[in-house]
Symmetry: C2
DNA sequence: GGCATATAGTTAGATAAACAACTATTCAAA
DNA sequence: TTTGAATAGTTGTTTATCTAACTATATGCC
């Protein structure tokens, strides 16, 4: 029985991703406590734009592992919050380029600090080499299925 | 800088849990391909009831790491699908006990096989000891934050 | 040029999650 | 025994995801 590394009864945590749900909830609580009116999903889009501003919605789909309707609505809501603007591309009129507003630029330092804080709390007591192993395994899982 | 094991730029995958999202999407596709009209979230509730039938909604909250309104609505939808029944407890009239229907019992083997298949595909090429390390790290993360 | 196809994005409908506010029941202490 | 707190569950609202169907623009082949 090759590769049958999991038995019934061990499946649940892996599939539901309790660890990442816990991380996301913790970070959301920190955002709320800091008075930031921002969801983790919205933050994840801003995160990609802080890395490189002016991405298209399609690029945001790939970067955030979401489909097109999800990005459309996240950008809708980020526009309502005046954190991004849609700018039609001059080269290709099908494309919207998404640009950060000055307000969104101001959020970067504070939210990234909270995110680092969350991860450090989450990984407290875990040796660095085990973290590396874990990241490598999760990357393989992602590559195997995507 | 104690415990500062993550640098900016490495945060995203961990927080968003791309690996577990990929696993869940893959399993959902298998359910759909098999003609099963069942979401992964509904399946995760059935999974707990296959382990022990007749749990209360509160017990399902703890077991599935969800809040009470989420379980209320998942049980609503599972009842619509005629996969579970709410039975008021005789001991404590506040409590609903959730029981599987014969149809739900029939789904166990097929869906568990698909779940095992998904995990084996996901973990293809990962040594068993690294899987153990990964599971241990994710458990610590969960315990640190919960 | 014209037409098929692919690509970028939007809309609609269903399910799910987070939060707050609510009802009903139980339990314990004054 | 009554009152107040705790517990179990529901409802309403907002945001997010998935699927499918849709519009508009671009591309490539004839």
């Amino acid at each position: 029985m090759p590769n049958n590394q999991f038995k019934r009864g061990e499946l649940y945590s892996f599939i539901t991703g309790k660890a990442s749900i816990a991380i996301a909830r913790c970070l959301q609580k920190k955002f709320n406590a800091a008075g930031l009116n921002l969801t983790i999903e919205q933050w994840s889009v801003l995160y990609q734009l802080w890395k490189e501003d002016g991405k298209s919605q399609q690029e945001l789909c790939l970067a955030t592992f979401r489909d097109k309707p999800s990005i459309t609505r996240l950008v809708d809501n980020l526009e309502k919050l005046k954190l991004v603007r849609r700018v039609p591309s001059k080269d290709d009129r099908r494309i919207n380029l998404i640009y950060l507003t000055p307000e969104a630029l101001k959020l970067q330092d504070q939210t990234m600090t909270l995110a680092e804080e969350t991860l450090n709390e989450a990984l407290h007591g875990v040796p660095a080499n085990q973290i590396e192993t874990c990241k490598a395994v999760l990357q393989i899982v992602y590559d195997n299925l995507k």
